[in-house]
């Protein structure tokens, strides 16, 4: 089994590991002035290297040997448990090999540095913080290095077993998803303090020793969860090996599902992601000296005021609000003009057609809102803008208004479509209504179309405009009125 798995893994991945490790080692060496012992310790405790390079490499190797063998192979081991154990031994052997290569690379990368086996650092090195923690537990860097290495080996063995266990008990399509999710928790947790505070154990706790030394109970938590997990894994592999967790397949029935497949496509999502990213980034580049996230969010959702016409911001508002509407209009035109006869036959009532259409579109619009929440958050984190306690509520408030606005516009377009049977007329009416913002403020200030523009909302900075509550009220009333009309009378007007 060991030999076979080695054969499956092949030399390529191990060579990549060796090269990557050497590169990391040398780059660490160039940057700092350390002794040989300190250097090897700093490489093996460098959690960026470990989490973003070594763990993925190891998981990658695990993935290639994880697949269950055929029944004939399993039968030769007489029981599943014995098969599981021997497979685990082979994975452990892989882990030993893996660690060996890594060790070799690390030791090689440090050759030529002076030998000094103590904790004293030349001032200002990046490792100071970490070493001060470690020196509290170990007398020498060398002993620390050995313990860390052994701990990592143990961690790799357990991770390997965990992957095997997941692969056996979950359906094939879910294995990689679960492991990826687990890895993502690991990968993002070093950047997110609140995740670190939670008592959960990730790959990094198994593999990186010093991640367990942060809190008082952290090591205990890791030990207990790991022990219980290992016991559960062994026990289930012995007693319940014939079970397989079957995940109930999602219900893929009904017109809404059918339409969702039409409209929530990769292409449409890509278009939306591109446009939202471009607009958010452009909004930042316009005023790169903004440091507070709140101000930037208000600018992002500023839209266009009333009583004047500024072409650029009007176009921006038109694009932000009109993008999902455009995609949906094209979608409605497509499904209604080329509707398959089979769909018509399977419908029980005409209402269903309109219901499916509106439901799908609302799902799509909500998706757009999610995008418009996520991308600004990512940008705020990436640019390190200063956040206050109002940032997230403000963002949600803006996105909520935007969603309501887009929904109102969409429902209005659908209602017009029901009357005229031409989606283009609905769309043109929306463009016209958006243009009404050039009317004097008194008349157009309360116009529901485009009311999500922050420029029209009362803010402490601007001291003018509609209050947020009133804006929400207007949009709610407008959208629900059209919605109710569509539900009661709309279907009579639609479709022959």
């Amino acid at each position: 089994m060991i030999r076979r798995n080695l054969y499956i893994v092949g030399k390529g991945k191990l060579v990549v590991l060796f090269l990557g490790c050497i590169l990391f080692g040398i780059s660490g060496r160039v940057a700092a002035t350390l002794s040989y012992e300190q250097h090897i310790l700093s490489v093996i405790t460098d959690h960026y290297y470990l989490i973003y390079f070594m763990i993925p490499m190891y998981l990658f190797i695990c993935f290639s040997v994880m697949e269950e063998d055929t029944e004939i192979v399993v039968m030769r081991y007489r029981s599943y448990f014995r098969y599981f154990l021997s497979k685990w031994v082979s994975v452990a052997a892989l882990a030993v090999l893996f660690m060996g290569i890594q060790l070799l690379a690390i030791l090689l990368s440090g050759i030529g540095l002076p030998l000094r086996n103590h904790w004293n650092l030349v001032g200002g090195a990046t490792q100071t913080e970490l070493f001060s923690i470690l020196s509290g537990y170990f007398t020498y860097p060398t002993s620390c290095f050995i313990v860390t290495t052994l701990y990592m080996l143990l961690g790799l063995c357990i991770s390997g077993m965990f992957c095997m266990w997941i692969a056996h008990f979950l359906p094939n399509s879910w294995t990689s998803k679960v492991i990826m999710a687990f890895y993502i928790v690991t990968a993002v947790s070093i950047k997110m303090p609140f995740l670190q505070a939670l008592p959960i154990t990730g790959f990094h706790h198994w593999i990186i020793l010093h991640h367990n030394l942060t809190g008082e109970y952290r090591f205990l938590i890791t030990a207990i969860t790991t022990l219980s997990l290992v016991i559960v894994m062994l026990w289930t592999a012995k007693k319940y090996w014939h079970w397989q967790l079957s995940v109930p397949s999602r219900r893929r029935k009904g017109l809404t599902q059918y339409y969702c497949r039409e409209v929530i496509t990769k292409k449409n999502l890509l278009i939306m992601i591109t446009v939202t990213s471009i607009i958010t980034i452009w909004k930042y580049l316009q005023n790169p000296d903004i440091l507070v996230a709140d101000e930037w969010i208000v600018r992002l959702f500023a839209g266009h005021g009333t009583g004047m016409l500024n072409m650029l911001s009007f176009l921006e508002m038109l694009i932000i609000n009109g993008l999902p509407i455009c995609i949906l209009a094209a979608f409605i035109e497509r499904i209604t003009s080329n509707q398959s006869i089979f769909v018509t036959i399977r419908l029980k009532t005409r209402v269903e057609l309109l219901k499916g259409m509106i439901k799908t579109s609302l799902i799509f619009i909500v998706l757009y809102g999610l995008l418009f929440t996520l991308i600004p958050i990512i940008l705020i984190i990436a640019l390190n803008l200063r956040t206050t306690e109002h940032t997230i509520p403000l963002l949600l408030l803006c996105v909520g208004l935007k969603l309501l606005d887009i929904m109102t516009q969409f429902l209005l377009m659908t209602a017009l479509y029901c009357f005229t049977k031409q989606i283009t007329i609905g769309f043109l009416a929306l463009v016209g209504l958006n243009l009404l913002c050039i009317l004097p403020v008194g008349m157009s200030g309360y116009l529901p179309i485009g009311l999500s523009s922050m420029a029209r909302i009362y803010l402490p900075q601007t001291q003018s405009g509609v209050s947020v509550v009133l804006a929400y009220g207007i949009l709610m009333i407008a959208s629900s009125t059209i919605f109710i009309w569509l539900r009661i009378r709309g279907h009579n007007k639609t479709f022959k």
Partner: protein, 258 residues
């Protein structure tokens, strides 16, 4: 050819004439009312203010009354029956020529008519601020033409705008040859104009927008160059060819479905 074009004209007659009538009415009313809120020096400036909005929406006006035709002819298989009678190339050429002439007049008549309205029908502007002219010199593109012979200026500019209208209509026409979604056909050129306008604006290349070529007064006079007039047309021509290559040559969608 002439007979074919006459045939095509029969199909397009009512929407095109309707569009011309409505647009002329709107343009004339706007040119002879909107200017009242501004302090102006010349009568012809009222025309510029009145037709500002039309400049933003013009892709809709030239595409919607015309490009529906091809879509429905493809959809109801009318094209199939033309095939034995006339060559494909000849039929499409006649159709495009008729469409081009129609789109030319859809823009030209309202623009020129509203210019005449602004110059001769509405009450003349009282240039009460002429004393200031020497202090802040009046700047305008083609200044001499604009001030001395406003009618000629309006005529030339209307012709130029209508020419751009033909290009925009051609984009819609090419779309209507291949696309099965009438919404995309009718609003495609408009969406193109919005996106082009927006992207070039955020890149700081306002002077190369199609809208700048259409409305040279939308920017400060200094930043207008000869490239401003041609660049937008060049880009839209490239887009038209790209659309044609993509659908016709790469995806190989037949115009005449047998």
């Amino acid at each position: 050819m002439f007979r074919l074009m006459k045939n095509e004209w029969k199909k397009l007659k009512s929407p095109v004439l309707g569009a011309i009538a409505i647009l002329s009415l709107v343009a004339c009313i706007l040119s002879s009312t909107l200017y009242l809120d501004y302090s102006l020096y010349y009568d012809i400036e009222a025309w510029e203010i009145g037709t500002e909005l039309i400049g933003f929406l013009f892709p809709l006006f030239v595409v919607i009354p015309i490009c529906w035709n091809m879509y429905y002819e493809r959809k109801n298989n009318f094209l199939l029956y033309t095939m034995p009678r006339v060559s494909k190339r000849k039929y499409l050429t006649a159709k495009w020529l008729t469409s081009a002439i129609s789109s030319f007049f859809i823009l030209f008549i309202p623009y020129f008519l509203s210019a005449i309205f602004a110059l001769y029908v509405k009450s003349p502007i009282d240039p009460y601020a002429t004393a200031d002219v020497s202090v802040t010199p009046f700047r305008h593109i083609f200044l001499e033409l604009f001030t001395q012979t406003p009618l000629l200026y309006a005529f030339l500019l209307s012709c130029w705008k209508s020419l751009i209208g033909i290009f925009v209509m051609s984009l819609g026409f090419v779309l209507s040859l291949y696309v099965d979604n009438i919404f995309v056909i009718l609003t495609g050129p408009f969406i193109y104009e919005i996106l082009e306008n927006f992207i070039l604006s955020i890149l700081g290349l306002e002077k190369y927008r199609l809208v700048t070529a259409f409305e040279p007064t939308s920017l400060a006079t200094e930043s207008i160059a000869i490239g401003s007039f041609l660049m937008g047309l060049l880009v839209i021509s490239i887009v038209i060819v790209a659309v044609w290559l993509y659908f016709g040559k790469i995806k190989r969608i037949p115009v005449f479905k047998v």
